[in-house]
């Protein structure tokens, strides 16, 4: 029984499809250069290896080491302040020889793991004290990433913590109070905490044509790319918006627009169906997981993942402001891809290790 290989075939097939379709689209977005995607291919192979590794251990191991993992992650993120590589004014990366590593990606795993292990034996409803402690951790993680600055990742880390807290049984009263407080303080946040470029992004969402060659350019070009794709798309490698470089950031934030332009509504439906399937499958796995820790981890992971996906999708079609949030499995980026594989590895581990005894 111990020799069993832990694997969820539905999940495995889904993420295989996502990662290879992603690679396929990335190839088109990189002017069909093999050099540009070979690195991504290496990450995918490495990712599958990590996926299998992380699928195998018993979930209790994750629970036991979750605090240590969180501290280590926070330490690595904090270290970017001092030894990070600066790109476009943000220090997010640690450079090891040829590989750059983005430690904030680890926090997206570490925070939900830690909160799940912290909350898994707490009585329901969660006490006010435990809620405050959890929120303190979440806020600390948010701050440390947001200061890099990396608002997109900070948002995802925060949301992963909030999901866990919510799934664990955060009281509705508390939720209501928080929402009211946000409503009251949001003008203050707008005036004092947002950077001018972040305000620009919000403004241009509502009126991209106001500055077609400045802040509005990206979103206008993305909408043109998506819209001109039509039902069946312009064909692989045939999207003029992509291939003639009108579409910005084709390999990262706007890679979905490439797919939408070249494969049309049909391609979009297929992609959304795969993501939706992953969501439903994980929902099923979570509900049937062996204990509360596993449920919370799977739930925290998958909902954060879906949140990430849909924020990106909503952003590129102009439903919400542009926030730097890549599309999982599609956008170029090694650390993010590896952490995704690790995440699904952990989900597989949580889902496939059944409990031995009934308490």
């Amino acid at each position: 029984m111990n020799k069993k290989i832990h694997l969820d075939p539905y999940l495995f097939i889904s993420i295989s499809m996502l990662s290879f379709i992603g690679l396929f689209i990335l190839f088109s977005a990189s002017e069909s250069s093999f050099g540009a995607i070979s690195r991504q291919l290496i990450y995918i192979v490495l990712g599958f290896f990590l996926f299998f590794i992380f699928s195998q251990p018993d979930p209790d191991i994750y629970r036991r080491f979750s605090f240590l993992f969180l501290i280590l992650s926070l330490f690595l993120v904090a270290s970017t302040y001092f030894i990070g590589t600066e790109i476009n004014g943000a220090k997010r990366w640690l450079k090891f020889y040829v590989f750059s590593f983005q430690p904030s990606e680890l926090l997206k795993l570490a925070l939900p793991l830690f909160l799940s292990s912290y909350l898994f034996h707490k009585k329901l409803p969660i006490s006010f004290k435990d809620t405050l402690i959890a929120i303190l951790f979440i806020f600390a993680c948010f701050l440390i990433v947001a200061r890099q600055p990396d608002l997109g990742t900070a948002l995802l880390v925060t949301i992963s913590g909030i999901f866990v807290l919510f799934l664990a049984g955060l009281s509705w009263l508390f939720i209501f109070l928080c929402l009211s407080a946000i409503a009251v303080f949001s003008p203050f946040i707008w005036n004092n905490l947002l950077q001018p470029f972040q305000k620009d992004r919000i403004w241009t969402l509502f009126n991209p044509e106001s500055d077609p060659y400045g802040a509005g350019w990206n979103i206008i070009q993305s909408k043109i790319a998506v819209g001109s794709g039509g039902i069946f798309g312009k064909g692989y490698g045939q999207g003029s918006q992509t291939q003639l470089n009108f579409l910005p950031e084709t390999q990262t934030d706007f890679i979905f627009s490439v797919l939408a332009e070249e494969f049309g509504f049909v391609g979009v439906l297929l992609l959304v169906m795969i993501y939706a399937f992953v969501l439903l499958r994980c929902f099923y796995l979570a509900v049937n997981a062996r204990d509360r820790f596993c449920r919370l981890v799977i739930g925290g992971f998958i909902f954060t993942f879906c949140f990430n996906v849909f924020v990106n999708l909503a952003m590129v079609v102009g439903l919400i402001p542009v926030v730097g949030m890549p599309l999982p499995f599609f956008s170029r980026g090694g650390t993010s891809l590896l952490s995704l594989f690790i995440m699904f590895g952990i989900i597989t581990s949580m889902a496939s290790h059944k409990k031995f005894m009934q308490r």
Binding site: G227, S240, F307, F310, A314, V317
Partner: protein, 613 residues
């Protein structure tokens, strides 16, 4: 107290409910998102497809060729002549310096051509646009390059046109020229403004427009319609490939009434003279010859002239740019006398039988002031016809004295004076028919009877242009029919006929006037009798000598004569053949002194050229 089992069920239920809640929320987002994509990709697809197409296309204008200008016999007066430029594709050239060294061995390049090439090279290469290496290749260069062209696959000889006028510059003023475009206001929104920098030129000097003469007046007819080329470009504006081409539409040819041979003959006769020759068709109003001398190098003006040469022309005291034929301001002098014949008889001041004594001068009864032309001898008792033949000043001083200025100016206007007489001449001057009002407003003096008297011999304040004199001659020739003059065939329909003839001045009167003008040449006493034997057909004419300065003593006159520029202008109006007049002509030779002796031979020479054919 809840037990473990209940606790566990509660936890599972809470988790299930809450994750179901989030999942439903997420699916709601999926639905919104899919609707959004559906909206963009299907409902609004056409609009975004159009936008994507606009993004990737760059439309550049393609210059049309201008129409030709053609003379009455079908000879081309202004044409598009091909020239050849050496053109490169910089984006295909690796090292511009090595390339320049190589090509320089085949075709010699000047330092400025090399510098220009290197300066524009990077930019042109980046945007994948063509670059002209050398303009206006000669045949030898082309032959040398063609032999070696296999070594330079990214270099080719491109054809560009130049606007070249025929006729040895004799048509400079009337044809005008087309030069580099300065007014860009016509540029439509169809083309991105920047795309004009990349316009595909048909002319070696780029975008051109009519600057003067017919080129300017008929610019809309001649200029044609721009075509376009659409290129696929990337977001940086680099040309990828050509995707659409609408050829330009060549401008319409302009059919004119001008006669190249007669114009050349006139230019030849006016060589080294200043002045003008205008010939019009008596019946139709066609302008056949329209010459202003001296002229200027029109093809250099159109295709490039050195600053020095241009300045020299501009500062030349003979004013070669000035179009004397339609804007030269001259007194009509004695050529106005036939008009006074019409005016006096029409207003019943005299008849053809009335005789007066010409003592060689006229004394104004009001103040005793004596009016005389210099060189006037007493002519004795003369009638109107003789007064015209011999150009008696006294007779016409007397006629003007008997009339009044408002009647005179009314009739002058009927003959086209004081108005533009040409439908399509460039910058035509209206001349001046003086009136008491005019004098008061402009000179702050009231009108004197003496002013009217002076007008009797076409001197004083009145100003006429050569084309007005030709028009006036044509009205006399056609016995009172007037038709506005025109150069372009398209204006023939706009030239309607008006009749001046009245009961008081009928066809018999016109015939008598014709006879008197015939005798100006044919009679032994005529002022232009010297021309009698130089032709095979009969010509009616009137000479004139326009005073440049007013003088009263012949001593003063002789002194002034020393200065050529102050000598009198020689003027002649004429029409021929006498029996059935076809052409009317006016000739002015500035400082030529003798209407019959200097302007006359020019007029006859041109008429001969026209009637011999």
């Amino acid at each position: 107290m809840k037990n473990d089992f209940q606790e566990r069920q509660l936890e599972i239920n809470t988790f299930t409910q809450r994750s179901l809640f989030i999942t439903i929320l997420l699916f709601l987002i999926i639905v919104i998102f899919l609707y959004r994509v559906f909206y963009l990709q299907i409902l609004e697809h056409d609009e975004f497809d159009e936008a994507a197409f606009e993004n990737k296309t760059y439309t550049v204008p393609v210059q049309p060729l201008r129409g030709k200008i053609i003379d009455r016999n079908g000879i081309v007066l202004t044409d598009n002549i091909a020239t050849f430029d050496l053109i490169t594709n910089p984006s295909e050239i690796n090292d511009p310096i090595v390339f320049l060294n190589d090509i320089n061995k085949v075709i010699n390049l000047s330092e400025s051509e090399k510098t220009n090439f290197l300066n524009s090279f990077d930019d042109r290469a980046f945007f994948n646009k063509e670059l002209i290496l050398k303009s206006n290749l000669n045949e030898k260069d082309i032959a040398k390059f063609e032999v070696q062209s296999f070594r330079f696959p990214y270099v080719f000889v491109g054809k560009r046109f130049r606007r070249i006028a025929n006729g040895n510059d004799s048509f400079a003023h009337v044809l005008g020229y087309a030069g580099v475009l300065t007014d860009t206001s016509f540029i439509s929104k169809k083309f991105n403004r920047n795309s004009w920098n990349d316009a595909l030129y048909s002319y070696a000097n780029g975008l051109i427009e009519g600057k003067s003469g017919l080129e300017k007046t008929f610019d809309d007819v001649l200029k044609g319609k721009f075509g376009y080329k659409k290129f696929e470009v990337d977001s940086k504006g680099r040309f990828i490939k050509e995707i659409d081409y609408l050829p330009p539409v060549k401008g319409d040819d302009l059919q004119t009434t001008l006669d190249l041979k007669a114009q050349l003959r006139a230019a030849n006769l006016m060589q080294d003279k200043k002045g003008s020759v205008v010939v019009v068709d008596v019946q139709s109003g066609e302008i056949v010859v329209l010459l202003s001398a001296p002229t200027y190098p029109i093809n250099k003006m159109a295709n490039g002239i050195s600053k020095d040469q241009y300045d020299e022309l501009l500062n030349n005291k003979d004013k070669p740019f000035f179009d004397r034929s339609v804007a030269g301001r001259y007194p009509p002098a004695s050529t106005l006398k036939p008009f006074f014949a019409f005016h006096s008889i029409n207003n019943q001041l005299i008849n053809w039988e009335n005789v007066i004594r010409d003592p060689g001068y006229f004394i104004l009864p009001d103040n005793g002031r004596m009016y005389r032309g210099w060189r006037q001898i007493p002519l004795g008792r003369i009638d109107l016809a003789t007064a015209i033949v011999r150009s008696s000043n006294t007779f016409f001083f007397d006629l003007a004295y008997k009339s009044n200025i408002s009647d005179i100016s009314d009739d002058l206007i009927k003959f086209g004076f004081g108005n533009r007489v040409c439908l399509d001449c460039f910058q035509e001057d209206s001349g001046l028919v003086p009136t008491p009002d005019w004098k008061r407003e402009n000179l702050n003096f009231s009108w004197f009877k003496g002013d009217t008297v002076n007008l009797g011999i076409g001197q004083g304040y009145m100003i006429s242009t050569p084309i007005q004199l030709a028009y006036y001659a044509a009205i006399i020739a056609s016995k009172g029919d007037k038709k506005k003059l025109f150069i372009s065939e398209s204006n023939r329909q706009n030239s309607s006929k008006e009749v001046i003839t009245t009961e008081a001045f009928n066809n018999d009167d016109w015939q008598k006037l014709h006879e008197s003008m015939l005798n100006v040449i044919e009679s032994d006493l005529g002022t232009a009798r010297g021309l009698r034997n130089s032709k095979e057909f009969l010509v009616a004419a009137k000479t004139g000598t326009g005073e440049v300065v007013s003088l009263n003593s012949s001593a003063e006159y002789n002194r002034i004569r020393e200065d050529i520029s102050l000598r009198d202008h020689a003027i002649m109006i004429a029409f021929a053949p006498y029996e059935n007049p076809k052409y009317a002509i006016s000739v002015i030779v500035e400082n030529g002194e003798s209407g019959g002796g200097v302007a006359g031979p020019v007029a006859l020479g041109v008429l001969k050229e026209l009637l011999d054919e």
